[in-house]
């Protein structure tokens, strides 16, 4: 009985070792371990980042507490720091960028995936991928030399004539400000939206379109009512990618936003973003509180990105279940 049991125990273990070795040889386990380590490293990097930001911002967190989020002053001389104008600037420029870039990018992606001949579509897609690789300082220069003068002499006055009664388009127009930064950001993020959305649209199965057409839908109806809803999650993903890039953009924004940490209604007014102020002031910042306030700004940006992403994901989840119930 006992020898039987020990035999039974031994047999499967030697068998499983051999199986393990065989699986190792065929690469399954190795692949599993390597990919697991890589996936874990992402979590590790994010954790380390937050840990560092949290630790190094201790002085500022103790001094200002939650008030840091709602204070409007940024005064390195008297060491009084608040993040609100930077949060405002970051949100306004990113939202502006998306308002401009999403319709533009989506329309372009639909054309490239659904309507244009494949040859043209592939060539244009190549160009768009090139655009996504242009360094941001180049976009900043483009902003300074082209968009800013255009804003001051043409776009700004035209908007003022048309919508001057709104506080959004009133006040002095220097050429630099929220709107210019939003425009530059939209140019920077639009390649992401086009490129990713086009790929997603191309993966929608042919049968889906054909079925819609067979039911008597027009080309446009099949695109709008069948293809887009099918690709919706992927398209939203491309918009997140664009938003993330817009939130964290530094160089191009600081070159055209005017760098003035104040909250103003007008889109023509100069503003400031979190990423821009960190890049501008970190190298020359002296003193513990000043440095730690700048690092806390980094923490704020991290949390802001986290919250926005979370909210957007919840939104998708909500609409998904809605759709599920409807159908």
């Amino acid at each position: 009985m006992s020898s039987n049991a020990s035999m039974a125990k031994r047999a499967p273990s030697s068998w499983s070792v051999r199986a393990y070795l065989r699986r190792l040889a065929t690469g399954d386990v190795v692949a599993h371990m390597v990919t697991l380590i890589f996936a874990a490293s992402i979590v590790l990097i994010a954790t380390l980042l937050v840990f560092q930001l949290w630790n190094n911002s201790a002085a500022s967190r103790q001094q200002f507490g939650w008030g840091f989020w709602t204070t409007q002053t940024w005064d390195p001389v008297f060491e009084h720091f608040g993040a609100l104008p930077f949060i405002y600037g970051t949100l306004v420029t990113s939202v502006l960028a998306l308002i401009i870039a999403v319709p533009l990018g989506l329309a372009a992606a639909i054309f490239l995936a659904e309507l244009s001949p494949r040859v043209i579509s592939d060539k244009v897609a190549f160009l768009i991928d090139l655009l996504a690789a242009v360094p941001s300082v180049i976009y900043g220069l483009l902003g300074i030399f082209v968009v800013v003068p255009l804003m001051r002499t043409t776009i700004g006055p035209a908007l003022k004539d048309a919508f001057g009664f709104l506080p959004l388009f009133s006040g002095p127009n220097y050429g630099v400000g929220f709107l210019t930064a939003g425009i530059i950001l939209s140019i920077m993020v639009v390649p992401f939206i086009i490129s990713v959305s086009r790929e997603i649209l191309l993966t929608v199965p042919r049968e889906q379109r054909e079925a819609a057409l067979a039911l008597g839908a027009t080309r446009w109806e099949s695109t709008w009512k069948v293809v887009i809803p099918w690709a919706r999650t992927g398209i939203t993903g491309s918009i997140f990618l664009a938003l993330a890039r817009a939130l964290g953009e530094t160089m191009a924004v600081t070159m055209v936003i005017g760098n003035d940490p104040k909250i103003r209604d007008s889109l023509f007014a100069p503003g400031y973003t979190i990423a821009a102020v960190i890049a501008n002031e970190f190298t020359e910042a002296t003193g513990k509180l000043y440095l730690s306030a700048l690092i806390e700004l980094g923490l704020v940006l991290f949390l802001l990105t986290f919250i926005l992403n979370g909210m957007a994901r919840l939104l998708i989840l909500a609409t998904e279940t809605d759709r599920g119930r409807a159908s």
Partner: protein, 341 residues
Amino acid sequence: MRIVKVLGMLAALLMFGTAATAADGQVLLNAAGATFPYPIYSKWFNDYHQMHSAVQINYQSIGSGGGIQQLKTGTVDFGASDMPLNDKLLGMFNQKILQFPTVLGAVVPTYNIPGVSAELKFTPQMLADIYLGKVTKWNDKEITSANPGVQLPGNDIVVIHRSDGSGTTFVWTDYLSKVSPAWKSQVGSNTSVNWPVGLGGKGNEGVAGLVKQTPNSVGYVELIYAIQSHMGYGLVENSAGKFIKASLASVTDAASGAAAKMQKDIRISITNAPGLQTYPICSFTYLLIPSKIADSTKRDVIKTFLRWMLTSGQDMVESLNYARLPKAVVAIEMKQLAQVQ
């Protein structure tokens, strides 16, 4: 991201540091700090290496704040700063730090008023009031009375300042704090301040670009930048009541005017210095040297280098448009050099 970058830099420096002691006969020094004097520092370190092939000095121009941080953590042998370290900052070090002025720089007002080609004259009060947002139009009495005969428009003044932390901003705000009590109490001086009005441009080129593009604007840039990019700039009234156009000579003059006071404290600010021909908005840039250097080879190299920099090294600075140190200041620094042990 920034932290990761800094950590990477630290790691690289540490590796350099250990490699340096390993090589025999070679002395490798690491330094980091201010960007403003980077061109002359790299020329000095390079020329010195040509003369003494065993000595190599690596200088990372990562900004004064970064230089101070790295000196504090001991990752560099010496630092560099555009702003003299005050007692509070010095208190953060666990050793005594000596500050050696190396060259002089100046900051000049620049402007763009369509239809005005004359060189404008700026009084100290006028500059402070413009930057405080009290004087808002170019034809304000304060401006026109200093500039008789110049036809100034009634347009709004667009004030432009640096957005990045910089020694230039420190000098500019230090000067405004000296000449205007209102500025001192409301804004004060630092590498970045809470500007009451205006737009921020990144770097000298950012300010210059904004001024060039924005009609009716006024800004400030380093003298070197203005000279190299052939920009026009205004005259500023000095403490003797004369309007001076900044030049390398008038900047060195300001330093000799202040030399007497530097005997007591080498960190004395030389903005608004006395003297008939002195330009009022200028400052030193400093090397930060620990007073105790344990490694005797490194100590000797640093001391020899400093001596060379203060004597023959000074003959090179004007070719790069920096103003040289006056003799009186060199003498004071030679004396301070003896304190490095």
